[in-house]
Symmetry: none
Subunit: 138 residues, 4 copies
């Protein structure tokens, strides 16, 4: 392994295209959402809290995004048996709540998106719409 | 005073229109920025960290937005003599750094926008472009 | 008991030898890891986040190291029945997640090592390799 | 601007080579140091606290590394006039203390290194030795 290696990152154009697509889908389903996008190190790239969304869902959406970006898997895939333990050991950053998906383009993990305020299935539908908008794997 | 009263709030459509205008202006000036918009209670409505912006400016941009939303005045208007004291007393949320402006429409204070990563003047130019996009007072 | 007594502490040379051995083992098993070493007071001595490791595992690896250093036992030995209560009462610092081991040389507790990003068994294998590198008890 | 773009990142091999070179230089000068390396989003990659170093310097070294990684400039370049304000507005993450340098290879900003426990000049000498070890710009 070399000292450095080439990788790919998500631009703000990509993040904002995801936000726009997520908002459009949430509006279409009539369920306001909080949507958070983080990069591959967990630093926030973009977020929005839609009118009428639960304001605390901004926090859980961030945890969902962090979980997906860190593990490279949906937040809902965190095993039930360790959810409380891992949540406690990570200051609440790691969660098993559904609604977080990794952002992966060309096989490279670029970060994560977390959506919260609806049902788990609504959250995931909005997250998937965002991924599709930039041609990310869904 | 009655027990309740009518007010106005900024929607996510308004916040996203501000983000888009701010990003366009920042791209035009060639200075990537962190842009944060908070509501009249200081809760984040939308934010973006542009590619190449200083990631710590996300924190200072949030402080600028909070300051402007709380005071109804530009963050740079906090008097020099009390800046450190007020910063300490508010866990860093109140700042005298320029780049935060109140969002006021029809005389009603709706929140604040904070911009950071450029010079103070660049930050303010981007914040003003965002306000203009929704017809807010500048 | 006297007012003072002689003890033993882990040097940075010891901590870095542990890090190197842990990284070598993790590379050999093809599972990138976060590895954290703390002293007998819980203060970090050394840490590394390997390329491809889960970034949130840096937090849980630290909790594992703290738990092992504090209790002088593997983190996984925290009784199931009290894990959530103890995690809550210690701001998440004490965890029952496996992957944390005490660092003990000549019967003296010098600190703890925490490893995270793999399975519990992988985490422990890496931690044991680190202990072996400095002749610590395993 | 596309949704994604190619970039370069520092591997753990690069970060550990920096740590080793920094420790060797600090040992040679007889001044134990705290050394922290963060990636381009500020997430810690590696750190060490040398025997005899000031344990609180671990915190300031992290702030120096974050400052350099965020601004792409030495931490000591933060203008005197705004140091307190920016420190407050970033939860102490941004500092004007010398000893933080950006990690830049082939013109790409990969993160930052922060060194603390010696004089400002000693801290910088150790940071420069670390950069040289991976062929980064100094």
């Amino acid at each position: 392994m070399s000292f450095t290696e080439t990788t790919t990152r998500l631009t703000h154009r990509g993040a904002l295209a995801m936000i726009d697509a997520a908002v459009a889908r949430a509006e279409a389903m009539g369920q306001p959402q909080c949507i958070v996008i983080v990069d591959a190190s967990g630093e926030v790239l973009a977020e929005v809290r839609m009118t009428g969304a639960k304001f605390l869902s901004r926090r859980s959406a961030r945890a969902k995004a962090l979980t997906a970006a860190s593990t490279g898997a949906p937040s809902g895939a965190v095993p039930e048996a360790v959810r409380t333990a891992i949540g406690l050991a990570t200051d609440g950053a790691m969660t098993g709540l559904p609604g977080g998906l990794p952002i992966r383009v060309g096989g490279v993990l670029l970060g994560g998106i977390g959506v919260g305020s609806g049902t788990g299935e609504q959250d995931l539908e909005v997250a998937r719409a965002a991924l599709a908008a930039i041609g990310a794997e869904t």
